[in-house]
Every structure is written in structure tokens, then in C-alpha cells.
Symmetry: C2
Subunit: 375 residues, 2 copies
């Protein structure tokens, strides 16, 4: 079946909304944070470890799986769920963002038919089209597929952006025309940078194509300011039907998630929790901390008091510091668990705040504590 | 309390024996395989993941913990169990083997007082003595500590070996004299290479010092042959009292474990399962396989049919191959889980074989299948 979004409650003072996303693998509350499993695994963690932290949808990357192991192997395995052992919903992106960010030397040749670029692995010539992206995703058998879009740089001028938005619309239609997996939902992607009229154009025309949900793209590419991100959301949301989920792509900073929810976003994804973990960083309510810091040498308390994640209920900062300073990979795994839980837990609190009509108060309290300066 | 070994059943045809090891953290059957957690973690795995595969005693390394994070920090954490979150028994080695194998450039200066050598991390000058080794282990608060011994190379001549055995005896006594942790058992180590009279000397004199258990050392140093290993065991075991556990240090090859059990060994440890895993290798009953092999590309069966480990019950060879060829660390973690379970499971089967007086038949059947040549 296709996913179905059910609106439950709006926050009185903002565009924030609480809802339920019904999927092939159960029903899940929104707003939600989706951990990223680029190569069919959330780095270093088993799916049981990810589920234990309350994951609902997790994300995997079409471009990466296309190269390794290839969509045919995933299909032969019985689809991505079986292949990676996840019995929750999976969303695949389209590859558009990776073409933008990972193409060898960032060189690519965008033509009407698709994008010519070279593999980030071996420089092999590749050609990805809207049709191919959807066909790959059909085979991966994710629950939610993304339309193939162009991700223009933040610095693109108005004319470039306008042409790009129009091409992305044509690509969205082409992808939708070949989409053939009845159990897979397809999202359209709204682009247009920080230009109000282009976001409106992109949103209204994408909605006319009638997708199962809508993403707001182009906010986490390369150099977008926070203001531009908020504008992009504000300029897009009003045109998305209320009964469809709204997904802000690639955003995982806690304050950005809060600001996104206030503006009406339902779904977020980001590699930030696992990437920070690999660099020994942990989210806390008082901002990020680096576990390499010698002040944690004899700190036998959890990363965050009161945190219910596996890491905080079993391990201390002193132990994790020992692991990360000794280059033991378990340190990064434990930090990934904590950071993923931190963002999932944040969305749980945001849902509660919406139910209580106190989203703005929650934001102010959160920011006050989060921006606390560590001595 | 100190550990207590309770002999339950001897194999009719060999020296193999089934027993129970009573510890501060519960009672466990022997023969047992002990996974190694060098730096207070079994590489890449949580202790819950290790316990789920049936671990009893796990091992940690005094030398490594002395350098990082330092025994005082572990003591302040409440001991090694609390520090690393393991509520099963823990054994610490003495550092003697690491001085032998890890000293910078393998240079060391052995004097009667102890060993001068340089840190493998930063070349800093270090001096480890029998007393210091025991004092560090007392602070680590493991359940079983090891005496500090000299690990002579396999190539050592008779005279070198004789002097070394005598020094190790003096060191064993000095260590025992300062041992002061009432909840910690202390093992003596039998050395003597493949010389029958030196093993006898080492064993009888070590036993006179009355330890809580006895290790057979010098069998996994550097270049010992299988024959020498079996001799070392055969020459040592007869002098160890039946009511004390016998631990063969550093041995994890499946066939060596079987041969050790047949010769009367109760406990084994080795880094092999995790080290093999990092190189994409898995134990199977038909010998080792390398998961990088392209023949596993579309092999949607577990590493070993019928294996009850977490990896085999959740993941396929094709998936693990995808992970290891994509340099995803989860691949190594899943292989570590399987390999640890393989050796623990092997000891379970050996215990059953002892109970049924068919240890020799078990060995022959195992070897026949294990040496099967993969096409």
C-alpha cells in the first residue's frame, strides 16, 4: 500500500502539526527524525540497535546502492528490508543530491535527459536519469521513493534557478510516469532556493502532479544560510496539501529541526548524528560536547543525565572518552546511538509540545539551554 | 570470593574434562572460550552483544589498560566490570606477553627486578615488575589475575629457557606476596617451552606456590609449532592439581582448542575471532571463508546454516559481503559476533562430547569436515 498521512492536531500558535504516518510496516507519529543508512546500514549499528532508539522510517541512498551492491542484488535479496534486516519503513532518496555532492571533482554535465558524471569511487562514467532513478528505487523496494531532482548550488542566480526548477518539474513527471511499484509511495521535491516565486512555482506545479508526499530540497546543499532555509520552508509549505507529509531533506541540526517543525515540516533526515559520532561529538541539551576532551577523563556520569538511550543507560563519559582516545570503534557506535536517540527524542518532545500548544515556549526553552556556554 | 573449579566428569578415553567454574559473577561450564577485550572492550561490540553469544569469562589486557586509561581511572570507575559494563567474570593478563610482543621495536631489557621497555604508543620508557603488574590488576579488580611472567621466544635455547623458568618462578612468588584483592583469584603461569623437564620444573614449583589456577604459557608467542604446543600441554598438565582450572593462553584455532581440551585444558582465549573478522574472514565448520569473495555476491544464506548466532539469524553472506567490500564497519562487527559464537559453540559441543565419552570421535569428525577443501 501507499503511505497515508493523518493529521491529528495543529499547534495553535504556529504551523506545527502532529500526525500519524501509516506505512506498510506500521503507523508512526510525526514530526519524526529519520536516521540515515547510506549503504543499507546506519553506520556501525545493527538495525536492532537503531530500532531500540525509537526509529520509524530510516533512509538509504539510491546512488550508493546503485554502485554497491547494485539494485539487482538488493532485488534478488527480496528488497531492501530483507537485505538489510529492517522491518520498519524505508525511504530512498533519488541520487540527485549525491550527483551534486559526490560526483568526482564535483564535475557533472546536466542535460535534459539526465546527468552525466563520474563515480566518486573509481571515476567510471555514469549517467543518471529521472527514469533510471525511479527504476532503481522500484527494485530496491523502499516504502517511499524520491523524484530525481537537480540540486542547484546556493549561489545559483535567479535565471539558473528558474531553469533548474522547470527541469526538475519535467523530471518529476518523467519519473512518475515510469514509477511502477504499487507498494511504494513517491514524493515530489520542491526546489527554488530562497526565491519566493520560484518556490511557489515549484510547489504548485509539483503538487499538480499529485505525489504521495512532498520534500523541500535545496536547503542543505552547500552554503545555504539559516535564513534561506527558513525562507525555503515558509515559501513552500503553504502550497502543500494538508493531507500529505512534508519532508525537509538533509536537516538534522536540533534548532533547525525545531524551526522546521514550527513551520509545518513532518519529516527530517540527516547524517549528522553518525558523522558527529565519528568525530567523538555528542549532542546534549546544553550543546555539543567532544568526548576527547580531557575534562571527561574521570567523569563517571552518562553523556546526558536522564537520557534513556542505550549508551547513557550503560556507559559513562569516562569510558567513552577512553574508547575514542584509544581509537576503539565502539566509541563511535555508542555516540551514534546517543546522537540518533537525541534527535528522535527531540521530535518526541516536539510532538508533545504541539499537543499542548506550547511549541514556541518549547523552542525558547530549548534554545536558551542549548546555547548555554560550556565553561 | 575466589573462583572455585568443580570437576564434573572426565572423558573416558582422554584427559578431557567437563567442569564448573564458580565465580563472583555466576557459575560457568568448562571447557570455555574467553573472548578478548584488549582495551576494556571486545572490539566494536557492546558487552550485551558479547553476552548474547554465550560469553562467560572475558579477558582484558593489563598492559593496555595501564597505558590507557590507567588503572587509577578504572579503579575510580568502580573497577573494570563497572567501567566496561560487564556483569560476567573478567580475567586480566599480566602484561608479560605484551612486553614480549608489543615493546617498541621488540627491544626490552630483562633484569631480575622486572622489564625495561618502551611504550608501543609513544616510545616512552616503561618499567614493569611482578609487583606492579599485580598491583595494577588489583586496582582493575578483575576476577582472575595472572602472574607476571617472562615469555621467551620459541627459539630460546635450553639454558636461556631454564634461567627464564627460574626467574618466572621468583616473579610468581613476588607477585603473590603483594597480591591483596580478596575478591580476585591469582593464576600461576607454567613456562618451559617444549622441554619436558623444564615444564615439569615450572609446573611443580609453581603449584607449590599454591595459586587459584594455572596457565600454560609460551605456546602462542612467535613461531611455536603445533607439535611444540601439544608437548607443552602434555608436559605441564600432569602436575596441575585436578581441582584447579587450567588455562591455555592465547590459543583460538578451532583444532588447537579441540587438541587442548583432549589434553585436559579448561580455558582458552584468543584475539583470533575479532582479528579474522576485521579481515573479512569467518569460521565455518568447513574451514574459514573470506566474505570479500565475489562468489558470495548473491548468496542469500547465512554464513553457516544452522548457526544460532545473531549474525546468522539476521543477515546473509551477500549482505555482509556488501558491507565488507564497501568498508562499512558493521561488516566486521557482524563477523566478530559470528566468530566468537563459533568458538563458544565449539566448546559447548566439546562439553557435550566429554559427557558422552566421545571426545576423540568428535575431533575426528570435526577435522574431517573442517579440512574440507572449498572448491
Amino acid at each position: 500500500m501507499k503511505i497515508k498521512y493523518e493529521l491529528q492536531k495543529k499547534d495553535k500558535n504556529t504551523k506545527g502539526r502532529y500526525g500519524i504516518l501509516h506505512t506498510n510496516y506500521g503507523s508512526f507519529e510525526t514530526p519524526m527524525f529519520m536516521p540515515v543508512g547510506t549503504l543499507a546500514n546506519v553506520k556501525t549499528l545493527t538495525t536492532d540497535q537503531v530500532k531500540a532508539e525509537g526509529s520509524a522510517v530510516i533512509l538509504s541512498n539510491t546512488y550508493h546502492l546503485w554502485l554497491r551492491p547494485g539494485e539487482d542484488i538488493v532485488q534478488k535479496a527480496g528488497g531492501l528490508h530483507k537485505f538489510m534486516n529492517y522491518d520498519g519503513p524505508i525511504l530512498t532518496d533519488s541520487g540527485g543530491f549525491q550527483v551534486f555532492s559526490l560526483a568526482k571533482n564535483k564535475k557533472k554535465d546536466i542535460v535534459e535527459e539526465g546527468v552525466h558524471f563520474k563515480s566518486h569511487l573509481d571515476g567510471r562514467k555514469l549517467f543518471l536519469t529521472p527514469e533510471l532513478s525511479i527504476q532503481i528505487q522500484n527494485k530496491l523496494d523502499s516504502d517511499i521513493a524520491m523524484s530525481f531532482d537537480e540540486c542547484p548550488p546556493a549561489s545559483a542566480d535567479y535565471n539558473y534557478m528558474k531553469n533548474s526548477v522547470e527541469r526538475t518539474l519535467r523530471w518529476a513527471k518523467r519519473g512518475k510516469d515510469v514509477h511502477s511499484n504499487e507498494n511504494q509511495s513517491l514524493f515530489g521535491i520542491i526546489q527554488g532556493g530562497a526565491y519566493e516565486d520560484l518556490r511557489r512555482l515549484s510547489a504548485t506545479e509539483t503538487v499538480k502532479l499529485d505525489f504521495d508526499g512532498y520534500s523541500i530540497g535545496g536547503v542543505a546543499n552547500d552554503g545555504e544560510s539559516k535564513e534561506d532555509m527558513y525562507k525555503a520552508i515558509d515559501y513552500s509549505i503553504p502550497y502543500i496539501p494538508e493531507d500529505k507529509p512534508r519532508y525537509l531533506m538533509g536537516v538534522g541540526d536540533p534548532i533547525d529541526i525545531i524551526e522546521g517543525v514550527i513551520r509545518g515540516v513532518d519529516m527530517f533526515d540527516c547524517v549528522l548524528p553518525t558523522r558527529l559520532a565519528r568525530h567523538a561529538n555528542a549532542f546534549t541539551k546544553r550543546g555539543k560536547i567532544n568526548l576527547r576532551n580531557s575534562k571527561f577523563k574521570e567523569d563517571f556520569t552518562p553523556i546526558e543525565d536522564g537520557c534513556d538511550c542505550y549508551t547513557c543507560t550503560h556507559y559513562t563519559k569516562a569510558y567513552i572518552r577512553h574508547l575514542v582516545t584509544s581509537d576503539e570503534a565502539l566509541g563511535g557506535s555508542l555516540l551514534s546511538i546517543h546522537n540518533i536517540r537525541f534527535l528522535i527524542s527531540l521530535t518526541e518532545e516536539l510532538r508533545k509540545a504541539i499537543k499542548e500548544d506550547r511549541l514556541l515556549e518549547y523552542r525558547d526553552e530549548f534554545i536558551k539551554e542549548y546555547q548555554f556556554k560550556h565553561e
